[in-house]
């Protein structure tokens, strides 16, 4: 049976792992390569590496860091941040990434999703969607959410569920859905939003933003219908250890890949 995945996220700035609250107020969380290796050993199912300042500073992701990380881990590895062209993706895949995550560029030029899926296969194209509540998008009694880009700085006027359906129909293989409202707050995931997105597309959805306690993961895999859950600070700062979390989730009937 396919396991639900637990994915630590390494937000990278200048080669260091950082973490903020609601996308700002970053603090240092350690060396990226050391963290990646430790996670790979301790039972993380996958790693995500986001060069969070790449888009803002308009430069490519550090492929050399990707290369160093891939030398040290034996689990799948997604890389995002600042990806603009097919060539950028080629460089990252050649550097050891298994999947690439695009966000701002996908919104700016949606056809890039089609091109990437054709060139490299849907399985390696992850669309990251940063979502924030916007009552202007409320419809049929359901809360409306708006897509944000450029590290959560710029609203796009796009509604999240319809954007998720569009990236799916264009050949995206997986969605990384982050609630900016919940990010770093440790108050639980955006369950209603995650469940709606997950049920409106035929590809896996990774829920991100808001993990605080182990019970939050039960909720996101059951009520939230997520296929994977991503978190950063609670793992980096050892508030929750992944092996312990996976045992806890297994005991609550959620299929997990346990190392023991």
């Amino acid at each position: 049976m396919l396991a639900k995945r637990i994915i630590p996220c390494l937000d990278i700035r200048d080669g260091r792992t950082v973490k903020g609250v609601n996308f700002v107020n970053l603090r240092d969380a350690g060396d990226a390569v050391e963290l990646a290796e430790a996670y790979s050993r301790s039972g993380a199912d996958e790693l995500t590496f986001l060069d969070i300042t790449a888009t803002v500073e308009n430069r490519g992701t550090f492929s050399s860091l990707v290369r160093r990380i891939s030398d040290h881990i034996g689990i799948p590895f997604t890389v995002g941040g600042g990806i603009r062209t097919i060539e950028d993706v080629g460089i990252l895949l050649d550097s050891g990434a298994d999947k690439i995550s695009i966000n701002s560029q996908a919104v700016a030029k949606p056809s890039v999703i089609d091109s990437l899926a054709l060139q490299y296969g849907s399985q390696c194209v992850v669309c990251a969607i940063d979502a924030r509540r916007n009552p202007a998008f409320d419809k049929d009694g359901k809360e409306g959410w708006e897509v944000y880009v450029h590290g959560g700085r710029i609203p796009t006027g796009r509604e999240v569920v319809s954007w998720a359906q569009e990236v799916y129909s264009r050949g995206c293989g997986e969605i990384l859905l982050t609630s900016m409202e919940h990010d770093g707050t440790k108050g639980g995931f955006a369950l209603d939003l995650t469940s709606r997105v997950s049920q409106s597309v035929g590809i896996p959805v990774i829920a991100s933003g808001g993990a605080g306690v182990m019970e939050d993961f039960i909720d996101v895999f059951t009520t939230g219908k997520a296929d994977a859950a991503l978190a950063a600070s609670i793992f980096h700062f050892h508030e929750i250890d992944i092996p312990e979390l996976k045992i806890f989730l297994s005991q609550h009937g959620i299929t997990m890949r346990n190392l023991q």
Partner: protein, 197 residues
């Protein structure tokens, strides 16, 4: 030991190189028939689309070279699918080391496609799996599958289909999952491919 990874326009060969390096082996990446024929082990990784990959293999005549190889040969993911007879992915004729077609997952099961993530494999007795622990989680990412057949040495289940996770005939092995990305289980399988065959 002389390990060669087949160079073609599909596949992230670096992941395989890194995995072999962690096991203490270095490999070369080549599309030179002489180099491939002289290798002790050949790895045929693959990520991408079947028809584009086959087109490239035919254009470079690697198709004829690969099927004639006699040393232990391991196809991974798309690599294993390309070793089958035919793929439903863009109606592609493949290399044919395994006489079995590659099919698309049925679209109407309510399960998400691709089959992406960690799944368990049920293994038969094969040297590729010697020394594996009971805990057999492997990492899969694919939208097409190889049905169970005579050459099946491991199976797994997704979207109401039980299918081949691994194949073996003569000197040819295939893994639908990615041993290079399957943690310690994958490491053991790669180690077996290098040392136990």
């Amino acid at each position: 030991m002389n390990i060669t990874i087949v160079k073609y326009n599909a596949g992230n060969t670096r992941s395989v190189l890194c995995a072999l390096h962690r096991l203490g082996y270095e490999a070369t990446v080549s599309d030179d028939p002489a180099v491939l024929c002289a290798a002790d082990r050949v790895v045929f990784p693959g990520v991408g689309e079947a028809s584009t990959a086959m087109e490239y293999l035919k254009k470079t005549h690697l198709d004829e070279v690969l099927v004639a190889l006699k040393q232990p040969f391991l196809g991974i993911c798309l690599g294993m699918q390309l070793m089958c007879s035919h793929s439903e992915e863009n109606d592609t004729t493949c290399l044919g080391m395994f006489d079995v077609p590659v099919l698309k997952f049925p679209p109407d099961t309510g399960e998400k496609i691709p089959h992406m993530g960690w799944n368990t494999i049920e293994t038969k007795d094969d040297p590729l799996f010697s020394g594996l622990s009971e805990n057999r989680w492997c990492y899969f990412v694919h939208s097409y599958y190889v049905p169970l057949c005579e050459e099946t040495i491991a199976s797994t289940e997704y979207a109401s289909v039980c299918f081949s996770a691994s194949l073996h005939r003569d000197n040819f092995w295939g893994c639908q999952f990615h041993p290079e990305k399957s943690g310690s289980v994958g490491e053991q399988i790669l180690k077996n491919f290098l040392e136990a065959l």
